[in-house]
């Protein structure tokens, strides 16, 4: 266990995990707190998960070191889904 957790890649993964947990708790509290402008808070709530998806893809799935075509495809799909969801939300609410 000691060897694995002391590797540079494993330390980075643990830091990414801590960021993911913090981002989850933040978007969870933003989603519950209705004191904020609800349109703004919903856009934040929709953006944060895609930042988390980016972190999981680049670090946990090792796309950071992968061929640029695969990385580009993954990022394109995520950006399109995120952009379309936010656009639909803003035009219909």
């Amino acid at each position: 266990m000691k060897t694995i957790l002391s590797e540079r890649g494993s330390r980075r993964s643990t830091v990414v995990w801590a960021i993911l947990v913090a981002a989850t708790l933040i978007s969870w509290s933003v989603g519950i707190d209705h004191g904020m402008n609800y349109r703004f808070s919903t856009v934040v709530v929709l953006l944060v998960p895609f930042l988390k998806v980016y972190l999981v893809g680049m670090n946990f799935m090792e796309l950071r070191e992968a061929t640029p075509v695969l990385r580009g495809l993954f990022n394109c799909i995520c950006v399109v889904i995120c952009g379309v969801l936010i656009a639909i939300y803003l035009t219909t609410s």
Partner: protein, 198 residues
């Protein structure tokens, strides 16, 4: 400098510019992402036609189920990353890490079952309204992915026994790991869509 410290940057350099795992798995991963993406867009469009119904229906959910399940899957993803690293290095700790990841998957499914049961007891079902149709379809499809992913984690446990894993062996392990991260990614989007967007 120890052997382990010198091997890590070299291993990272060797992985640069390649496809993690088997290329065929990436077709499945990106395809799944697109299919769920279409489902997410359909959900958001439907929500736009009756936001009040979607907001009212969402308030009947217990957000804690979704939030705790997010933390469980994110944690399981970290455990799988560490397990893949351990398998590459031929370390026995991989098996324990995978058992913990499987435990996270198990608790996720139990939580999901409790949540579904509570909703059904309260009179909500697949045909209650369009929000609950999407809720049960999305979470049901995702739960099916979790069950399939858990089976792949069990396969990883079996593959983790070797001291000197071969390249195809490592490719399989990486593929299964990437599939598990896809399950995490899908839930990272499903949670805010179903539980938080207001």
């Amino acid at each position: 400098m120890t052997t382990a410290q010198t091997e890590v940057p070299a291993a990272a350099d060797a992985r640069r510019g390649r496809v993690p795992g088997e290329p065929g798995v990436w077709i499945m991963i990106l395809g799944d992402l697109i299919v769920f993406g279409v489902l997410f867009v359909l959900f958001m469009s439907q929500r736009g036609s009756d936001p009040d119904l979607f907001n009212r229906s969402q308030l009947t959910l217990h957000r804690a189920f979704g939030g705790v399940n997010t933390l469980l899957l994110v944690t399981s993803s970290l455990l799988v990353v560490l397990a893949v690293g351990a398998i590459r290095a031929g370390e026995k700790v991989a098996r324990a890490l995978l058992y913990w990841a499987l435990a996270c998957a198990g608790v996720f499914l139990v939580n999901k079952g409790i949540e579904w049961n509570a909703l059904i007891v309260d009179g909500h079902g697949l045909s209650s309204n369009s929000y609950f149709t999407y809720f049960f379809v999305m979470t049901g499809l995702h739960a099916a992915h979790v069950i399939f992913g858990a089976a792949l984690l069990i396969a990883m446990v079996v593959l983790s026994g070797k001291d000197r894993p071969s390249k195809p062996h490592i490719g399989l392990v990486e593929s299964f790991g990437c599939y598990w991260h896809l399950i995490d990614i899908l839930w990272l989007i499903i949670f805010p869509l179903l539980y938080l967007v207001h």
